[in-house]
Amino acid sequence: MRAAPAFYCLAVLFALCAPFLGVYPVFMMKLLCFAMFACAYNLLLGFSGMLSFGHAAFFGSAAYATAWLVAAHGWSTVPAILCGVLVSGFLGLIIGAIAIRRHGIYFAMITLALAQLVYFVCLEAPFTGGENGLQGVPRGTLLGILPLRSDITMYYFVLAAFLAVFIFIRRVIHSPFGQVLKAIRDNEPRALSLGYEIERYKLLAFVLSASLAGLAGSLKALVLGFVTLSDVLQANSGEVILMTLVGGTGTFVGPVVGAAIVVTLQEYLSDIVGGWVTVIIGAVFVICVLVFRRGIVGELAALRRLSGGSSPDRA
C-alpha cells in the first residue's frame, strides 16, 4: 500500500502544473471530463458488475440540459450543472429500473436499446437543435464571482470537480454500501440469501453512476461550448467501455489511464490517419478483450502481486 499515496501525490501535482508545462488546457479538460465519465462508468461495471451499453444517454442528456439552460435561458453555471446532473440521474432511475430486471448480456442489450430511444428523442426534440446540436454555450461565472472564460480558470474548476468525484467514488466503494455492491457483483444469489435487497442496491448504483456520468457531460458541454448528437450516440457508450476496459475495470486509477490513452489517441491519431481512427479503436477493443482483459492497471497490479509486492490499486 505504500506506493499508492506517492503515486497519487505525483499525479495530482502533475495535474496542478499541467497548464504551465505546455499542455493545452482544453485538451486536458476534455481528458478530465472523459476520465470522470469513465470513473462513473467503472462504478457500475467494475464495482457492481453491470455492463451498461447506454451510458452516452446520461452523459449526453445532462450535456444537453446544461447547455440549453445556460444558452437559451441564461441560467448561471452551477445551477445549470446541477440541473443537468438531476436530469441524468432521473433518466438513470427510469432506465435502471427497467434494465435491472435482467442480467448480463440482456442488461447490456436493454441499456443499449433504451439509450437509442434517448438518442432519437434528442434528435427530434424541439430544444436540442437536431442535427446541429447546441452551439455557442457560454461558460458563465462560478457562483457569480469567478468568470470561467479563461481556459486556466476553467481548467482548475474542472480539475477540482474531477478530484471531488474521484474521492467520492473511492469513499462510496469503501463504504458498507460499496462492500454490498461488490458482494452482489461476486455472488448475487449469496448476497440475496444474506438478506440484502439486491434490486435497491443495484438501482442506487445505477443512478449514482448515471448522475456522475451526467456531471461529466455537463462539464464537457461548458468546456467545449457545444453539444452535438455524437454525445448521445452509441459510439460514445462504446468509447467509455473501452476506456474502462483498457485502463482496468474494477481499479480506481484504471479508467483515468484508459481515458487518457483513448482521448490522446483520438486527438493525435485523427490528424495522422483521419477516419481510420475508428478502425484502430475497434482493433484496440479486440486486442484488449483477447489479450489483456484486466486492463493496463489491472495487469500491472497482477504483476506486482506475482513479484511479491502488494498492489496499490486493487479494491
Partner: protein, 294 residues
Amino acid sequence: MTEIFGVPVAVILGQLMLGLVNGSFYALLSLGLAVIFGLMGVVNFAHGAFYALGAFAALLGLQWFGINYWAALLLAPLAVGLLGILCERLFLRRLYGLDPLYGLLLTFGLALVIEGCLHEKFGASGQSYPVPPALEGALNLGFMILPEYRGWVIIVSLLVCFGTWFIIERTRLGATLRAATENAPLLQAFGVNVPLLVALTYGGGVALAALAGVLSAPIILVSAHMGSSLVIVVFAVVVIGGMGSILGSIVSGLLLGVAEGFTKVIYPEASNVIVFVIMALVLILRPAGLFGKD
C-alpha cells in the same frame, strides 16, 4: 372508402405491408442472432456489420465482376459466412468459457473495424443497387401498389426463416445442434466435432445477416453504417421475443415490423422508437420476453 382514426383503411393496409417488409429484415437478422446465441452464448454485435458486408459483396460483385443479383443472393452470404467462420476461428474461439459479455465486447470491436474500413474505402454516402429486371414490376393489391421486389423480399425471408426453423427443430442436423446447446462436452464424447459445428453455426448465422444485406441492397442505399442502428433495433426485437427461441425471434421480428408500420400511420414521430417502447413495456410486464423461458 372507410376510415379508422380518420385515416383511410387503404393507407393503413399499405403501411402495414411496408411494415411487413421491414419485419422480414428484422426476422432474418434476429433469427441469425438467435441461432448464434443459442449455440455459442455470444451476442453478435457485429451482426449489423456483416449485414452491411453482404450488401457490399453484392454491390462490388456487380461492379467488379458483373455478378448478377441471383448469383449474389447465393455467393454473397457464402463469402461473408466464410469470413464469419474465420472470425470465429481467430477470435471468438478464445473467449469460450469466459463471461459472455466478452463476446459482446469483442464483436462490438469487430463491428467498429469492419464498418470503419467500409466507411474509409467507400465513403459516407450510400450507393444504389439496381432492382433485378425480373422483379421491376408492381402488383396491384387493391389497397396499394406493391413493388414486386418488396413482395419478393417478404416471400424469401419467410421461406428462409421457416426453412431454418425446420432444419433446427425437425432434422437430424438440428437435433445435433440442439444437443450441442444442451451439453457440448457430452456430444463431443459421442464423436461429434463440436468446434467445427460451432464455427459452421457462426458462419451460418452471419450468412443469414449477409442474405438480409443482399435482399435490402435494391431497396435502401448501400453504405457502411446501414446496419449500425438496425442492429440495435434487432437487439430490442430479440429481447422482446426471448433470446433462446428461434420461432419467437421470427414471429416477433415480423410483428414488430408491422407495429412500426402501424405507428407510421397513427403517430409518425414515434415510429423510430416504438420498438424500444414496446421492449420496455414487455420487460415491465414479462421480463423473460414474450417467448422466453428463463
